[in-house]
């Protein structure tokens, strides 16, 4: 597709920033890869150490990432990688005026990882969205259910193998009593 006059490809710069070095020193086994493309510091870590890395990012005064900005997933189905999904976390530290991106590779047959909603509350809904859109299961999440789609929806719409023009049957209107029993619940 890309012809002879496409833009010159720019190599991804590979230099360890301060945070990367800190994490590599603290979790030598967990850090799989890192880069700083367009000065966005990115660290790829392995799945099982996500929760402890997140606690470190939140608690340690050298990191102090107060805000968990965003959780999302990239489906790498068409990119010929060994893993299917990549979890992407964005953090912001106000104390050190820094940002960091943490990525976690996930395999299709075992796409589950630890929830970080007990560290940052904002993770709660973002994880629900990732579950809804990609079917990633977050272990230890207090209330993992669909958020943007409805309960009866089948499949996970943002996966690359979900066809864009697929239609699903309309749901019958439910009587409100089916969902809640007024006054009798407590």
């Amino acid at each position: 597709m890309s012809g002879s006059i496409s833009n010159s490809e720019i190599k991804v710069t590979r230099d360890a920033g301060e945070l990367t070095s800190l994490l590599k020193q603290k979790f030598p086994k967990a850090v799989l890869n890192f880069h700083a493309h367009r000065s966005d510091e990115t660290i790829v870590i392995e799945r099982d150490s996500l929760h402890s890395v997140c606690i470190f990012l939140h608690e340690d005064s050298r990191c102090a990432f107060e805000i968990m900005l965003d959780i999302t997933v990239v489906d790498l189905l068409e990119m010929n990688m060994n893993h299917r999904f990549e979890m992407v976390y964005h953090f912001k530290s106000l104390t050190h005026a820094s940002r960091i991106r943490i990525k976690v590779p996930l395999n299709e047959d075992d796409c589950r990882l630890a929830s970080i909603s007990n560290i940052w509350k904002s993770a709660d809904w973002y994880e629900r969205e990732c579950f809804d859109m990609f079917g990633i299961v977050f272990e230890g999440h207090p209330n993992l259910k669909r958020i943007l789609m409805y309960e009866e929806f089948e499949g996970h719409p943002l996966r690359k193998d979900y066809p864009i023009d697929k239609q699903q049957p309309l749901m019958e209107l439910k009587e409100i009593e089916e969902r809640h029993t007024y006054g009798r619940e407590l």
Binding site: V74, P157, L186
Partner: protein, 408 residues
């Protein structure tokens, strides 16, 4: 959420559903009403009129923005971004275009950047005018709403003059803007801003020290600094809690580092502080627009890099490179280099960040928007529990929930 056992002990909750005076009832509020900012449903548990527990449910305006974008070309996403935060569409256009520019590693020319600052701040003002005006109307200040909508109209006329549309602007491009400033725009701008300022002055007298208004919003819906950070707040909602985080200052983009502005902060993080912060931000944005208009440099409004825009007609008809570029642009479109970026910009509601992944093939692999009001709606329970049902309206009004960006 709340301590149910003490509440039950206090109210002596019985299991009988007929005993309304003392039982905690589940009431569905919505989909819709809470003064119709957008469609959400709150499943609330009420003890009389006191909210004991609440669970927001969203997704009623989900249109699959991300799926649709990933099945489009890069340039085709710009019109979709108009529909994200539809009260400040230009900020969404700018946010997306700057994200793709970061992916390319280019910058728009200075004239384009200054124009973006002006149009972006106009959008921020219209966003705040809508939010504050509507929130005030819902608790009875109808005159205030009409005055603010009048002011918004002045600004939307400016937007129309610039882009040709009031809401569906589709204005920015990668590496510049689709149009330069029209003739006489800057003098119109000055005129409209002076009108806005007089309206702001009038409305300030009308509401800021109005006892009826203050009684409805003071100490209502307060959230602590720690909770606000944990919930990932940004924008006016976070600043109302006393944390001066503004992407324009924290990670300066465009030409904001050359402009002089203050970041207003509140102290308690209640609805009244949010109102005051937004009012002050309107004034600060007015000052930013004036500075940018004064500093407006001459020059091109579109980058001269090849393969980012259609070449000039004289090149298309005059030389072979121009003709090839034109053909490639029509047939293949943009090819941002391989990579991933996150570009935060300050939207009307807070940090409006795009996370883009490109594999260099010309089709986006991932277009992700970080919606600022997602966090606000998530935090509705801790803001409302312990208040009365009637307080849902001012609290929900003050978070400026925009369905388009919340549900995408």
């Amino acid at each position: 959420m709340t301590d149910m056992t003490t509440l039950q002990a206090r109210t002596g909750t019985s299991s009988s559903s007929t005993d309304f005076s003392s039982s905690v009832m589940t009431i569905e509020i919505g989909p819709a009403h809470p003064a119709m900012h957008g469609i959400v449903r709150f499943t609330t548990k009420l003890d009389g009129e006191l909210i004991v527990e609440m669970e927001p449910e969203i997704g009623y305006l989900h249109r699959g923005f991300e799926k649709e974008s990933e099945n489009s070309k890069w340039i085709q996403v710009i019109p979709y971004t108009d529909r994200l935060n539809y009260v400040s569409p230009l900020l969404c256009n700018i946010g997306y275009s700057m994200a793709v520019e970061k992916l390319y590693g280019i910058q728009a020319p200075r004239r384009a950047e200054f124009t973006r600052v002006i149009m972006g701040e106009i959008s921020r003002i219209t966003d705040h005018l809508t939010c504050v005006g509507a929130a005030a109307m819902e608790i009875g200040a109808f005159t205030f709403f009409l005055w603010f909508i009048k002011a918004r109209e002045y600004l939307w006329e400016l937007v129309e003059e610039m882009t040709g549309a009031r809401l569906t602007t589709n204005w920015t491009r990668f590496g510049g803007n689709s149009m330069d400033l029209p003739d006489g725009f800057l003098s119109d701008l000055e005129d409209r801003l002076s009108k806005l300022e007089s309206i702001m002055e009038e409305c300030d007298k009308l509401l800021t020290r109005n006892k009826i208004f203050i009684d409805r919003v003071k100490d209502v819906g307060a959230i602590s600094k720690e909770d606000a950070l944990s919930y990932g707040f940004s924008g006016p909602m976070l600043r109302a809690c006393g944390i001066p985080y503004d992407v324009r200052r924290a990670d300066p983009y465009s030409v904001y580092d050359e402009l002089d502005f203050e970041i207003p902060v509140g102290s308690t993080g209640d609805c009244f502080d949010r109102f005051l912060v937004r009012m002050e931000e309107i004034r600060q944005s007015t000052s930013i627009i004036k500075q940018a208009a004064d500093k407006m440099p001459a020059g091109p409004f579109m980058t001269d890099e090849r393969m980012l825009h259609y070449p000039d007609k004289k090149d298309v008809y005059g030389n072979i490179e121009g003709l090839i570029d034109h053909f490639k642009m029509v047939m293949e479109g943009h090819h941002p280099p391989e990579g991933e970026i996150y570009m935060p910009t300050e939207g009307g509601n807070g940090e409006f960040g795009f996370y883009l992944v490109s594999d260099g093939s010309g089709d986006p692999v991932r277009v992700r928007l970080r919606p600022p009001c997602f966090n606000f709606v998530q935090a509705m329970p801790i803001m409302t529990v312990g208040h009365y049902v009637a307080d849902i309206v001012p609290i929900f009004g003050s978070i400026n929930m925009i369905g388009g960006e919340l549900d995408r």
